[in-house]
């Protein structure tokens, strides 16, 4: 998983640097461990940073009217950091995973990035490089979105044939175009329009920008759509639109569905911030149980679930979620969270609530059990760590110390998203993935 961004300003007088940084800041929730930005103009500059984009010192010497960048949930160094340098002239940012490349034999003895590079060199040959890039991505199979630039100031941005990963196209007035993983980046740096600020790049399509033009092209045939359902549950920001659907609306729908499937007696509803807040609000309005702010944050907002290790995740949770005693003391609490992976951060939250005097804690999860890995780059731990794959709801309740525990059903999730099941990838919930490889 990553947040990717591309900015193309047509007038060479513009400097896209700040646009790039603030755009990445808007995508930071998709990767908080590192970021990279490459500016192209009279010169070319690649900036690789650790942690938050906010901590960048803005340099007065960086400029260029075209840029690509990414936020990442892991750190890489040198050529392998994003933007990945495919050759000296071509760089790419990627969200998701390329699994195979037609006409290239994957070399498992070397890194993923090195494979992407070797395949590109093989395919590039002597063609003008935008043609080569187009051809390259048409051969890539997997679940991924990409934005690549070359030395001719040409940029190509597209989605895999299934559209597993999101990518939107927005604009900065008459001045340029923006491609981003989520529409919130366009809100932050683009034009403020009262209707959805973006349109989707369709699965298998690419948007190409050249110094003289910009147009959309079909790069690969569309076998079927398989939009990542986890975007709706957790990954995307609630102010974004993914595949034309407002995330906030889906999250409210999920809250409603949980409420409709529930009859537990309770005094208060609390959502685990930030993702589950809209779930709790909608649950509350259906069931007439008041929703309250249950936690206060210490330090900076982090997304604890995508932290790379258990220590960081627990530290994240404990700092993020100091329980407000007044809200829970002597109360029967419905605690709503978006998903459960291993269950240990959830156990920690319940423990903290009970310590502050909660009488009962009834856990409701806004998604079905996570039972399988993600071949498309969402960091799901090995299957033997997944609590939902191995234990029943009753068992989980006991393990995490809850008085009751319930998942959302798969059907309800699909209904909440509002797309037919055949257009979604529900692999992490049911182990069925879109068939990626042609052969």
């Amino acid at each position: 998983m990553a947040g990717i961004l591309g900015i193309y300003l047509f007038d060479e007088r513009w400097n896209a640097y700040r646009f790039g940084l603030f755009g990445l800041l808007a995508l930071q929730h998709r990767g908080q461990e590192g970021y990279g930005l490459e500016l192209l103009g009279k010169s070319r500059k690649r900036i690789i940073g650790k942690g938050s984009v906010e901590d960048t010192t803005i340099s007065s010497t960086v400029e260029g009217h075209v840029c690509i960048g990414a936020t990442l949930p892991y750190q890489l160094e040198g050529d392998n950091a994003q933007p990945i340098q495919l050759t000296e002239k071509v760089s790419v940012v990627l969200d998701g995973k390329i699994i195979s490349i037609e006409g290239y034999d994957w070399d498992s003895s070397t890194s993923y990035e090195e494979n992407l590079r070797k395949a590109f060199v093989k395919i590039e040959k002597e063609r003008s490089s935008i043609e080569a890039l187009r051809d390259y991505f048409s051969r890539c199979e997997g679940g991924f979105s990409y934005i690549a630039v070359n030395e001719n100031m040409e940029m190509i941005a597209g989605r895999d044939a299934f559209g597993v990963k999101p990518l939107v196209l927005g604009k900065i007035g008459f001045e340029g175009g923006v491609v981003a993983s989520e529409s919130c980046a366009v809100d932050i740096i683009g034009e403020r329009v009262p209707i959805s600020p973006v349109e989707d790049i369709e699965p298998g399509e690419a948007r190409i920008f050249t110094p003289l033009s910009t147009y959309t092209e079909r790069v690969s045939e569309e076998p079927r759509r398989a939009y990542c359902s986890f975007e709706y549950v957790y990954l995307a920001r609630p102010d974004s639109y993914i595949n034309g659907i407002p995330i906030y609306k889906v999250r409210k729908n999920i809250g409603k569905k949980i409420a409709e499937e529930d009859n537990v007696d309770a005094d208060v509803v609390i959502g685990v911030p930030e993702t589950a807040t809209p779930f709790a609000m909608a649950y509350s309005s259906v069931r007439g149980i008041p929703v309250e702010k249950g936690f206060e944050l210490t330090g900076r907002r982090v997304r604890s679930a995508i932290k790379p290790n258990q220590f960081e995740r627990l530290k994240g949770i404990q700092l993020k979620l100091n329980v407000i005693s007044e809200v829970v003391r002597g109360k029967r609490v419905v605690l709503i969270d978006d998903s459960v992976v291993r269950g240990n951060t959830l156990a920690n939250i319940i423990y903290l609530m009970k310590e502050k005097g909660a009488k009962e804690v009834h856990v409701r999860i806004g998604s079905p059990p996570i039972v399988s890995h993600c071949p498309f780059g969402v960091e799901v731990p090995p299957e033997d760590e997944l609590i939902g794959r191995h234990l029943t709801e009753e068992r989980i309740a006991r393990v995490v110390g809850a008085d009751s525990f319930k998942y959302l059903s798969l059907d309800s999730l699909v209904e909440a998203i509002g797309l037919p099941e055949r257009k979604l990838c529900l692999g992490c919930f049911n182990g069925t993935y879109p068939k990626v490889c042609k052969r």
Partner: protein, 493 residues
């Protein structure tokens, strides 16, 4: 009956076609800098003549009119109006459809147009500031971070306008820099050699909403509107890229309906008529100021904004291009009769009639347009098959019969159907007919008139309307009220 048409673009091709449909069977003559292959054919078929010449030189146009012995002259573009071509012709007893220099001031000077609008309290007036020099403008741009449109104070072929939305403080520094550089560019380059207006730079508040053009015939007493048309200014698909003269336009009914039997529309009929009233007021005002009668075409390039409802962005002293193609393609009334009625100031006796259809026009340009026109220019054009629905725009027919691109929009493809999306598909099918023989790329906008873009436009209009109606109810139309801490309340409008 003999008519001289002045100008050789897509708009003039549409005008020539309308004349060729006349029951008076006029002989059609044309003068323009480039020889438009489409007009050339019409001219030949009607046994007229085509002359290559400088249409902004009143003597040259007068001589052509005299040589051909025409009954009247019809002016296509704005520059001949600014250069007093209609005045020269009329002084010599040759009737002319074209705004006199003094009334064409409505378009020539964007600053005077706003002055007039404010002086006469005409609705749809944007807040603006005008500057004579860069020294005057810089302190203003330094102090105020606002969403603005920077415009050359004179109409310069629709070029040089930059709209910069500036509300994100974290991007302000970059935007301020571009605003200053562009202001300088306008004054030093776009306005270079144009000393016919007092000001150089105009800064207007930035507004949002659906844009549309209302084009009218007028004899100075009567104003006859044609259906509203929506142009698409961005160069590329998805409303991306720099501002152009227009990449294509849509229309259906008076108020840009989805289809002929459809309720969905960008405007309401009431909003259309309100727009016409604004244009009428502008004509009355300019006539009052100058004491002259307006004989010709006038158009309001409008936007339906939350601040004002129908709002003037710019005025045209001629038809829009490509917007003219939409209305002239459906015009049933004889253009010769309309012209004669304008000349004799009896336009009140004419009833304009249009076929009930949706029209979508798509322009095709060589890459390089609009910012690097020299790259778009000079490519040899091959035509697969001459089609009636294709109008030639910026193209030059050479002595040897070859056609060469002129650097702007090359052709305009016209689709006519019962709904806008249907007309759009028809226009799309025509795109491939023309190619450049050296392989240089042509581009056009696939999205104009498609269901998805049309839905977005209608949605945008609906949102602008909701806010406007609220403001109207609260008596806030056209008002800008700001609380400046330490200074107090500031009210404009």
């Amino acid at each position: 009956m003999k008519v001289l048409l002045v100008g050789g673009g897509g708009r003039e091709h549409a005008i020539a076609k309308a004349f060729s449909r006349s029951t008076y069977n006029p002989r059609i003559y044309c003068i323009s800098e480039l020889v438009n292959p489409g007009i050339f054919k019409i001219v030949k078929d009607s046994r007229g003549e085509y002359r290559r010449g400088d249409i902004n030189n009143p003597e040259e146009v007068l001589n052509a009119a005299k040589d051909f012995g025409v009954d009247f002259v019809f002016i296509g573009p704005e520059e001949p109006n600014f250069h007093g071509v209609p005045d020269k012709l009329e002084e010599n007893g040759i009737p002319c459809i074209g705004a006199n220099k003094s009334v064409a001031e409505l378009e020539l000077s964007k600053a005077s147009m706003r002055d007039l609008q404010w002086k006469y309290n005409i609705p749809g007036r944007l807040w603006y500031k005008k500057f004579r020099s860069i020294e005057e403008a810089l302190p203003y741009l330094e102090e105020y971070a606002e969403s603005i449109a920077l415009k050359p104070a004179r109409q310069v072929g629709g070029k040089g306008v930059k709209v910069i939305e500036d509300f994100q403080v974290y991007l302000q520094e970059d935007k301020k820099k571009i605003k200053k550089e562009h202001a300088k560019e306008i004054i030093e380059n776009y306005m270079k050699g144009h000393d016919d207006v007092n000001y150089k730079l105009l800064i207007e508040e930035r507004v949002w909403g659906p844009e549309y053009t209302v084009q009218c015939f007028t004899d100075g007493r009567t104003v006859l509107p044609t259906p509203a048309v929506q142009d698409n200014k961005h160069a590329f698909d998805g409303d991306l890229g720099p501002e152009t003269g227009g990449m294509g336009s849509i229309s259906c009914g008076l108020n840009i309906k989805w289809g002929i039997n459809d309720e969905r529309a960008i405007l309401t009929e009431d909003e259309f008529y309100k727009s016409v009233e604004i244009i009428k007021s502008m004509i009355e005002a300019i006539q009052k100021e100058t004491g002259k009668h307006y004989h010709g075409i006038v158009a309001g390039q409008m936007m339906y904004t939350p601040v004002w409802g129908p709002t003037i962005i710019e005025m045209y002293s001629r038809f829009g291009d490509p917007e003219s193609v939409n209305v002239l393609s459906l015009l049933k009334t004889d253009l010769v009769e309309i012209s004669e009625a304008i000349i004799s100031e009896k336009l009140n006796t004419i009833k304009l009639e249009f076929e009930e259809k949706a029209v979508v026009v798509k322009c095709v340009s060589p890459e390089g347009y609009p910012e690097k026109r020299n790259l778009a220019k000079g490519h040899k054009v091959t035509v697969d098959k001459e089609r009636e629905e294709i109008l030639w725009a910026s193209a030059d027919l050479r002595e040897d019969g070859s056609i060469v691109s002129g650097g702007s929009r090359l052709i305009e493809c016209v689709g006519i159907g019962n709904t806008i999306p249907e007309a759009s598909e028809k226009a799309e099918k025509l795109i491939e007919v023309v190619k450049l023989s050296d392989g240089w790329k042509l581009f056009h906008r696939k999205d104009i008139g498609t269901e998805s873009l049309l839905s977005r436009r209608i949605e945008l209009a609906k949102l602008a309307r909701e806010i406007y109606l609220y403001r109207e109810k609260k008596g806030l139309v056209g008002k800008r009220i700001t609380w400046i801490p330490g200074k107090g309340l500031e009210e404009v409008g």
